[in-house]
């Protein structure tokens, strides 16, 4: 894991001091709320329906037990004893007092954490593959490149007042576990002639105008990496639309210009930017990469697991994934118990996960964009012990990638932008399908719920998506089918007229029944949908 040196620490410490001062000036009335808003937003502090919400950055979703314990401490001391893990691999706290914000940041800084640029019209926390460093299919660990971007983008003087927010993801496998092409910039590390480089996909996103990012450059070598990113951003900062907040994301610029014209402008800007000397020497990537060296895996660790406990075997099959190191496995901890709030964890649960990481996973945890937690490096002989401790903490739901592993935004229960509640719908769906055998029969089925068109719950990318809207003062839920945030990225299609809360659960059941009737061989729901098309499902829903 990356460790701060004195420079990183000095920057984060100065940020704590700066934000304290900004809060003080706001509370003294020296700056208006309008002037304070972009300042607090650039530090992840939102004013929500009931209180301030603070979003803490977890760079590329990686953290250690000390940091995880700090997240529990903050939930306990400053919030209502829980936190919410988000689709951008961050954590947010829903009940924060403005006057505590400075102290929280100071606490975070003691464990090399911060809330810098977790909101606002700037470059946000860089996201990545939650299996980085553990997946057999990666060409390299993507996180050193993500860390380079984190440093480059932190307080970038030119890109602090962009037309709109800007999200970057970095992956290094053909299998996409980070919805890479649904980001403003999606980067995939690729190998060419034995050398590593970055493929740049630019202009993807969800929101009210979802788009899949086109490939802008197939190979950017490390020595040009930051210059190329700078050129992409400069063209956007200069020409992205500022007349309409709903058309201000880079996807609209690229859609209006066309990918070829955007690429031409970026190439032209890059030719100039490259002369400025903004790319660090190769030694900097090497320095960062050293922090991500594989842990001291035990050679010859036992590769077999005793499956005699049937409940354990179910969890093993569903939540544990193959590791590149023989004798080890990747453990997914589902934060989606039936009846729970997707992504929420109590401070006690956060502490349990931290302890498990320290004891069994080389002190590392990951947050996933599906709002779950990963212990990336667990020896197979320890899996049963880990599972038992998860069961005790109510963290052993064996439902990874099943229909109850729902992504949901906070919705109208918390969010000032929402039109409808997301959480109760997620809970009702999970309850309707609570029978695990039934879920396993349905197989991989990614269900994603957003409480408004801003799509924080990734509904466009759900195999089944739900969009909450306000229809003449009542909450109404539209159903979408056929989206994917994986390497086969696609956008879901709205089935037709929306439903009330119970109606949408019924409609989903008609869709899954139809799927079971139509599927062939080992098809997932998404495969069947793509083979037979939209109409049989529409017919099943509306009759």
């Amino acid at each position: 894991m990356y460790k701060y040196d004195q420079y990183d620490q000095a920057i984060v410490d100065a940020r704590v001091d700066e934000f304290r001062d900004q809060v003080r000036r706001r509370m003294a009335g020296e700056i208006t709320e309008d002037q304070f808003k972009p300042l607090r937003l650039m530090n992840g502090l939102y004013l929500q329906l009931h209180a301030y919400m603070l979003r803490v950055a977890i760079p590329y979703g990686t953290l250690d037990s000390r940091q995880m314990h700090m997240l529990a401490h903050i939930a306990r001391k400053y919030d209502r004893d829980y936190g919410h893990f988000t689709t951008r691999q961050n954590i947010q706290y829903n009940w924060i007092k403005l006057e505590d914000a400075g102290d929280i940041l100071a606490d975070l800084a003691t464990v090399e954490m911060h809330a810098i640029q977790t909101s606002g019209n700037c470059i946000r926390n860089i996201s990545s593959d939650q299996y980085a460093g553990a997946a057999a299919d990666e060409v390299a660990d993507p996180r050193p490149w993500a860390e380079l971007l984190r440093q480059w983008s932190t307080f970038h003087p030119e890109f602090s007042y962009l037309p709109r927010k800007f999200k970057i993801a970095v992956i290094a496998s053909d299998e996409d576990r980070a919805a890479m092409r649904l980001h403003d910039i999606g980067i995939q590390l690729v190998e060419r002639d034995g050398k590593l480089g970055a493929a740049f996909y630019v202009g993807g996103g969800m929101g009210r105008t979802p788009m899949v990012a086109p490939l802008i450059k197939d190979f950017v070598p490390i020595e040009d990496f930051l210059s190329y990113a700078e050129a992409c951003l400069r063209v956007y900062n200069r020409y992205g639309r500022r007349d309409n907040i709903y058309k201000a994301r880079i996807k609209i610029l690229i859609h209006e210009l066309g990918a070829d014209e955007y690429r031409r402008q970026v190439e032209q800007e890059f030719a100039h930017v490259k002369s400025l000397g903004i790319d660090p020497p190769a030694a900097e990537l090497e320095r960062i990469t050293a922090f991500f060296a594989p842990p001291a895996f035990e050679a010859g660790a036992a590769d077999t697991v005793d499956r005699s406990d049937p409940d354990f075997a179910v969890w093993l099959d569903q939540n544990v994934k193959a590791h590149k190191q023989p004798g080890y496995a990747i453990v997914n901890i589902s934060l989606k118990p039936v009846g729970g709030i997707p992504g929420d964890a109590s401070s006690a649960q956060i502490d349990v996960m931290a302890d498990l990481a320290e004891q069994y996973s080389f002190d590392e945890l990951r947050v996933t964009h599906a709002q779950n937690i990963v212990l990336p490096h667990v020896a197979k002989r320890d899996l049963y012990a880990v599972w038992q401790k998860l069961v005790e903490a109510d963290l052993a739901s064996p439902n990874l990638d099943l229909i109850s592993d729902i992504i949901a935004c906070p919705g109208l229960d918390y969010c000032s932008l929402a039109n409808a509640r997301s959480i109760p719908v997620a809970q009702k769906i999970a309850q309707r399908f609570s029978d695990l055998d039934r879920q396993r029969t349905l197989g991989e089925l990614k269900l994603k719920i957003s409480g408004c068109i801003n799509a924080c719950g990734h509904h466009h990318a759900g195999h089944i998506g739900i969009l909450g809207v306000d229809r003449k003062g009542t909450e109404n839920y539209q159903l979408l089918l056929g989206g994917s945030g994986a390497e086969d990225t696609s956008l879901g299609k709205i089935t037709g007229p929306g439903f009330d809360e119970d109606g949408v659960v019924d409609a989903i059941e008609r869709v899954t029944d139809k799927y079971l009737e139509l599927r062939e061989g080992g098809e997932r729901f998404l495969d069947t949908y793509r083979r037979v098309g939209f109409d049989p499902f529409k017919e099943a829903i509306y009759g």
Partner: protein, 140 residues
């Protein structure tokens, strides 16, 4: 504090003209750029410019930051002024983009200006100022 200037030379008395007017007349030495105007149009004329004033009608509109860097990257050495809705919490980024004078619509508190500009000793990236990025400090 109305005007804020980080230059040793005398301030120019001549008013800044619009970009169109500047490109039409050869004797002006001060020009004002609106957010949507292309700073690169000035590059052929940099040697006769003493002042470029970049307008910030709204503090949220960040195009002027790119305009400033583009002019400094092209070798412009004259005064580069941010005028308009310029807030104290933006001064540091603006200084890093090459602005060396400020004409904020609402006066800034000199004490806060000083604290703000002195707060950070380190920067992560190269920009239009002389600050040395930490990667350079790490590797020499």
């Amino acid at each position: 504090m109305g005007e804020l200037r980080f230059r040793d030379d005398e301030a120019l008395e001549q008013p800044a003209v619009t970009l169109d007017a500047f490109l039409d007349q050869s004797n002006a030495t001060a020009v004002r750029l609106e957010p949507d105007e292309d700073a690169r149009l000035l590059i052929p004329h940099l040697d006769r410019l003493a002042l470029v004033e970049i307008a910030f009608p709204k503090f949220r509109d960040g195009r002027g930051y790119s305009s400033a860097r583009i002019l400094r990257e092209a070798g412009y050495k004259g005064e580069l002024r941010a005028q308009g809705d310029v807030l104290v919490d933006q001064l540091r980024e603006m200084r890093r983009c090459g602005f060396d004078s400020f004409a904020p619509e609402k006066p800034l508190d000199p004490a806060v200006v000083k604290t703000t500009l002195d707060r950070y000793d380190q920067v992560y990236q190269r920009a239009a100022d002389a600050a040395v990025p930490v990667w350079k400090l790490r590797h020499g």
